[in-house]
Amino acid sequence: MQSSFQLAFLIPLLPLIGFLINGLGRNQLSKQWSGLIGAGTIMGSFLVSLFIFQSVESGNTAVVSYFDFIRIEGLRIPFAFQIDALSSLFLLIITGIGFLIHVYSISYMHEESSSSFARYFSYLNLFVFSMLLLVLGSNYVVLFIGWEGVGLCSYLLIGFWFKNQVYTKAANKAFIMNRIGDLAFLLAIFWLIIKTGSASFQEVFEFVQGNQGTSKFTATDITVVSLLLFIGATGKSAQLPLYTWLPDAMAGPTPVSALIHAATMVTAGIYMIARSNIIYSLAPFTLTLISWVGLATALLAATIALRQYDIKKVLAYSTVSQLGFMFLALGSGAYVAAVFHVLTHAFFKALLFLGSGSVIHAMGGEQDIRKMGGLSGKLKITYVTFLIGCLAIAGLPPLSGFFSKDAILLSAFLHQPLQYGIALFTAFLTAFYMFRLLFLTFHGSFRGTAEQQAHLHESPALMTIPLIVLALLSVVGGWIGIPAVLMHEADWLGSFLAPVLSSSTHEVSHATEWMLMSLSVVGVLLTIGFAWFLFRNYRERESKGLLRFFEHKWYVDELYDRLIVKPIFYLGRLLKEWVEPRFIDALVNGVGKTVQLAGRQIRFLQSGQIGSYVLLMVLAMVTVLLVQFFIRK
């Protein structure tokens, strides 16, 4: 085993230690210390991850086993880490961006009291720990531990300001929505364990490949398992129909949105499906379903984002939309493209969220973009970095988003031209709503109060430095996956991930590829121009018709409320007011009353009179003999 792999346990351990120190010492630690511990442990993990990444890049992979987590007859689940191209890449994303966001948070959260400041960092560290566990686990069970861990931390962080009831409700919503998916995921794990007798990736995949189609693992099994895993992924990665929690999750502090709801946790579903790509390659039906669900989510979220006024809501729906793109790529069999988009999206979406945090910071907590405008003069660094983020997400070359989105569009084109058309349209929508956001926020005239205008200021260095770093990454991050048509010996990412991810082998002529690229670039440029024309000088207008429909998020929340929440409430009320007192209480109290009554009667037998005891004894003897007598007969 590569010697650097022996350090792998440090990667999740350091954030766990940070969590424990910050969590237990939150009343003693000063803000400087909690910030230092919080960010420092992630920094340590990042350095170890770099070592491991280097080692993996030179061709080493390993499964590092520590102890048996579960060992029962016929099933052994080790607590082991899988170190290969996919996990090492995700390690870098998580720890790298996690570190930047920790640094940013030190400044962003400085108004909190020192105990809740430490609480914040302990949650953040716990989150990073869980996410690392999720990525490192060498079997589905360890992955599931991390999976649940990030769900928990997401709940804790969304409800970080738990005194606000709206926020706690948003936290509940996120948690419950995730649970639905988790249940399906858990069922999938059980199914796999029953069928294959193992939960570890290697063994499961070997088994599936070796026995697919036979009675040991039928086509139905593959479809069911892949579907269940996918449902699990829709919960965590906010896809239709379980996406509604993510926009509400913006209740949490902005760095949390950047870390959890843009860069890391929501990509867990993508990671899981990419990790299970061997199963998915055998399930064409599920793949088709995934691609359509992803596409529908992308389009739906993009249309909603068109008419949102909360700066974070726009970004949230944009996240959902981008996740939809990733699922489209997965469904098209382009796992590399999906992971590539995870990477670039992590850069620019973290950048955009942190930029919006900087804006909100400057605006004194105001999040409504109708009350902003013309901020570019005051917040220069924020403006420039935000612009880079917008360009990247819109997909203009040579920024990172262009390459990854292009890879996805290409895979969709090869897979289903119809899907390509819708995806391209959605990409234009993306450009449109992002630049609407940019223009409304930073251009035109200021529409807020005079007090806010006087308060406008650029954020401190601790916040702007992560912005600059992320902006740089958003620019250059895509260069690791430049397609072959643009550069000789390109697509480093594809070859790096080749051992883990089966890549689609479709060949496409360079002319077609050029045409697709230029089509999207020209379309995006036109869209940006259109947005500039519409929103350069914003005036508030009543939205009508379809736009009103978009503004109300397609009334999905209301629909869910009617279809699911209300009936469950009615059922609950029915159970509470009718079934419980009549049946359950009656049963439980009845048992108690019966026993009490019986006891009150039987008590007289215990008279304390020796004579009565003897009498009973004799009667018992008679009874026993009688019974024996008759039985023998």
């Binding site: 004579g611 004799v618 003897m621 024996q628």
Partner: protein, 166 residues
């Protein structure tokens, strides 16, 4: 009917009658006396069965020592009068009925045993002689025999301890 059969029936009737008298006598002293009669009847049975050692021991230990002890205690407590209040009538009835039921059930259960045709040898055999029993007792049963001496010792200590005035 042989003489031993006649003796058997006489002794049986005597034993049953005196046992009933033990239970029914109002005066405890009478009960004791009737119990002694019962023991004598049972000893007679032993002799009929040629278990001479046990017959003698029964008379010495039970009819002699133990019953004297009873008498002694009764005298000591000055209970030699019909002082015992009768039990509640229903309880008495219940006791009688359940005892009778026990009798009935036991008889019914054992009535048709396969032992029915077996006979007990009377007036013969050397099993019950002191010589045989003594040899057996001091060879194969020597440990229980010695243990019973410890039992007696502890019973003696216990009786003294319980009986002494604080």
């Amino acid at each position: 009917m042989s003489i031993s059969a006649i003796l058997f029936w006489v002794l049986s009737v005597a034993a049953l009658f005196s046992a009933l008298m033990v239970v029914t006598s109002r005066n405890p002293i009478h009960s004791v006396i009737w119990l002694i009669v019962t023991f004598f009847a049972i000893s007679g049975h032993y002799i009929l069965l040629n278990a001479q050692f046990l017959a003698v021991v029964n008379i010495i230990v039970y009819a002699g020592a133990i019953m004297v002890l009873f008498l002694f205690v009764i005298m000591l407590m000055n209970l030699n009068k019909e002082s015992e209040p009768a039990r509640h009538r229903w309880l008495q009835l219940a006791g009688g009925v359940s005892g009778g039921a026990l009798l009935l059930v036991l008889v019914a259960a054992l009535k048709d045993t396969e032992l029915k045709s077996q006979q007990s040898l009377m007036l013969e055999g050397n099993t019950g002689l002191i010589k045989t029993l003594g040899q057996e007792l001091f060879s194969n049963y020597v440990i229980p025999f010695e243990l019973s001496s410890i039992l007696f010792l502890s019973a003696m200590v216990g009786a003294v301890l319980i009986g002494k005035k604080d």
